[in-house]
Amino acid sequence: MSNILVIAEVSEGELKRATLTCIGFARQAAERTGGTVQALVVGKGVGAHAETLAKYVSTVHVADDGAFEKPLAETYAKAIAAAAESAGAHVVCMAATAHGKDVMPRAAALLQAGMASDIVGFGKDGMQLQRPIQAGNVIATVELTTEVKVVTTRPTEFEAATESEAAGEVKALTVDVGTPKTTFVAFDKVASERPELGDASVVVSGGRGLKESGNFPALIEPLADKLNAAIGASRAVVDAGWVPNDMQVGQTGKVVAPNLYIAVGISGAIQHVAGMKGSKTIVAINKDPEAPIFAIADYGLVEDLFKVVPELTEKI
């Protein structure tokens, strides 16, 4: 048992980019512990994704079955446990997306494995791992004492893997899912033509300083359009129902690390900062010079956002 198994994620028919960042983590882990990097893709009609993954790893396990049409933790965890055994895996990892967070602890229970969530890097030796706790204010270095180790990795902290020289093999995996006690009912997608928040190179976020929900389309959207940016929000405005839940940036929402993050009317509570402080360049626009967001911003503009945001949109 010495291989590393990456659990791929397919969403709306697409292989998620976050999967490649997890392969990036797995390659670093393999350099430390030896073994091969393998992958598992679960779903219905996912053969093409298996072929794509074979460009990155030595073996791709494919659990392709009607039972896996929807990503249910109950059934997927069984596929992960079966693949871990088939792969001889000592590390089983997945990007810390909503699906990864849902399914991986359940798989850890089936594997009797210890689990480290939301890994951002390695410690000094072997499989010592670093993870943020306390809303990102503390980094803990942890070690898993079990033979099989389950890990979720933060997508913003690892480079997406590039293709290998040799193509890997694809192996079908048969999984007994029993009679599931979970039924998929519906998925209500937030329709958006914008880049995905987690992947965007520019993010424009709005907070309570915008005063009312109508100011998101009036001020934030035109600026985001000009920059081809994703739109984020602070928890306060998501809780107020101004924008969908999916837009919340923060320790308990999305963690983002774009090249440019523009915080508009956001005070900078620690939970919000935990979700965006990895951004390369941070701009803060807020009329309150004491707002904590200025302590981490590269460029602060202490101004009335209703005046300067339209001007910024105009001049970019």
Partner: protein, 262 residues
């Protein structure tokens, strides 16, 4: 129906954590302790479900003796009785194993828990527990109606129970997913499920008389030796504050020529 709900005692999440000089522990002296905010949402949901369908809400906490305060807070909100398992420094797997034992005794129809705690941020226990029990899970429970909606004002539960099934709306990447799970099941709560109520003064008085059973971890008979060992705590690399720009033109000039991001 019987609903089991978990409450963890955590350090006040409004205050920044401090690390001991040798990096071996977090400073707890002088810290305020509060119920994990996600667990307060879980308690609220359990109370609404019990009111709608009838039944009992049992609050469980695993932690130091003082965690009885957080149990009393949930009892003051309206939960019926409490169980405290005295154990410190138990990792998520140990917590799930202790809960598995308690569930074997209590046989609840539904377990509602916060999706994660604000100290450790692991987001594991509900899913681990569902895996150990071979129960279905619906994590990150939310609802379509906002927190300003009439349903919220009327304290309608977000989780819909009909017969032996629960329908749960979940926050996932890219939207909201609806799942139906057969009971018994594990539900973990996200932020937009409800606004937890405040305890009333009569509620606080009544809570003092409600039963809280205290158990030692030895009495439970579970091996809680850690699967996750913490080696060291350290501060993350701090970002330096940058400069204040005077106007939009200067901001654009900096973004173009200095940061080179435009």
């Amino acid at each position: 129906m019987k609903i089991l709900v978990t409450v963890k005692r955590v350090t006040d999440y409004e205050r920044k954590a401090k690390i001991t000089p040798d990096g071996s522990a977090l400073v707890t002296e002088g810290m305020n302790f509060v119920p994990n905010p996600f667990d307060e949402i879980a308690v609220e949901e359990a109370l609404r479900l019990a009111k709608t369908h009838g039944g009992e809400v049992v609050v469980v906490s695993i932690g130091p003796k003082d965690a009885v305060q957080q149990i009393r807070q949930a009892l003051a909100m309206g939960a019926n009785r409490g169980i405290l398992v005295e154990a410190e420094d138990v990792d998520p797997d140990g917590v799930a194993r202790i809960l598995q034992k308690i569930i074997a005794d209590e046989a609840p129809n539904l377990v509602v828990m916060g999706k994660q705690d604000t100290d450790n941020d692991a987001n594991q226990v509900g899913q681990l527990l569902a895996g150990y029990l071979d129960w279905p899970q619906a994590t990150f429970a939310s609802k379509k109606e906002g927190l300003d909606s009439d349903q919220e004002k009327k304290q309608v539960p977000g989780v819909v129970i009909e017969g032996e099934k629960a329908t749960v709306i979940r926050e996932v990447d890219g939207g909201l997913e609806t799942l139906q799970v057969s009971l018994p099941a594990i539900v973990t709560t996200d932020l937009r499920l409800n606004h937890p109520r405040f305890a009333s003064l009569p509620g606080i008085m009544k809570a003092k008389k409600k039963e809280v059973k205290e158990l030692g971890v030895d009495a439970i008979g579970v091996d809680v030796s850690p699967k996750v060992r913490i080696l060291e705590y350290k501060e993350p690399a701090e970002r330096q504050a940058g400069v204040t720009v005077s106007d939009v033109d200067q901001l654009l000039e900096k973004l173009k020529n200095e940061a080179k991001v435009l």
